[in-house]
Symmetry: C2
């Protein structure tokens, strides 16, 4: 079931271990462990503040190998924060994808299929919507020419994009097409018919 | 957000490479790659008929390391098939969990937390509802004392349980408690308020 399609406007790497600031690249490699050279690379990860299920530091499967945002939602966050614009770099995004309406609302297990010249080059799967936190405020205040009137944690709620894992490895480039497939839950015929 | 709780009635291993028939154990080890000794063990897998997104044989991340069913749904399938009972072994289940209403309808990214003596011993995450296929018919016909009046692929629709991955490794035993947490999608406040 195809839910929509978009285009890759930017691919970005978080090369610093002490900072989530990302930097634009022409293309980015995605492997089973995530993006080589990125701070979120790994088959497993240490549970952090977002992983409310676990004590901090517990080793768990890494379902947050990448993050993606879309320009329309970044604009809405910027508007709410009363700043001129919000760059994906400032909030550590790995992918900027345009053309998919309400990207943040794609449900868990949605498949993002990346297509170039008619061929599938990689597939990413959504684990969950990304929750905004307060940490980007520092970078936004450093880089934004305008002073925020609202914090990112509040302004970004429901608009902060997606995180997920690499299902089929490959290289994703600026300009690639993105096909979205949302999971199909079979109709609960038995519940209806008894 | 806790959605419910259940209990582990059985843990089962699929030890044969040429057959999905499972066998009961007292306890089962779950690692980051799945269940050691089980035919679905692995960090990655070859895409099969269920992985409609991919050409058969494509190497993809393994999000089907385990499968779980519940007694109430097995009873409903048996009733629809007009057989006396349906055992989890015959359909290759790794876990039989009772007490969770409509187990099959838990959405992707639901967390199943296994608890023993008040301590969390392992966490499994749901990737998707399991779709029934025709292959169990052969085993059901071999083991069931009554002759099925309907095929499993039709009778099991919406009732066939869940598949997923291991998020936090550990040993799961018969009698462990199971706490279910479904993913929270933040309210789409921005969409409502413009």
């Amino acid at each position: 079931m195809i839910e929509g399609s978009g285009i890759v406007d930017a691919v970005l790497l978080a090369p610093h271990s002490n900072d989530f600031l990302t930097e634009r690249r022409e293309q980015l490699s995605f492997g089973f462990e995530g993006i080589p050279g990125d701070r979120h690379f790994g088959y497993t990860k240490k549970a952090g503040g977002r992983d409310a299920h676990y004590p901090r530091g517990t080793e768990i499967r890494n379902s947050r190998q990448w993050s993606a945002v879309c320009p329309a939602e970044l604009s809405r966050i910027a508007s709410r924060m009363e700043i001129a614009h919000l760059e994906p770099e400032w909030i550590g995004a790995n992918l900027l994808i345009s053309g998919i309406s309400r990207l943040s609302m794609l449900p868990p297990f949605s498949h993002l299929r990346f297509i170039r010249n008619g061929e599938e080059v990689a597939v990413l799967v959504v684990s969950e919507q990304n929750m905004p936190c307060k940490f980007p405020d520092r970078l936004i205040q450093r880089f934004s020419p305008t002073v925020p009137g609202m914090g990112f944690a509040k302004a970004g709620m429901g608009l902060r994009g997606l995180v997920g894992w690499v299902d089929r490895p490959g290289v994703i480039c600026v300009g690639d097409n993105v096909k979205v497939e949302v999971p199909v839950v079979p109709p609960d015929l038995q519940a209806m018919r008894g």
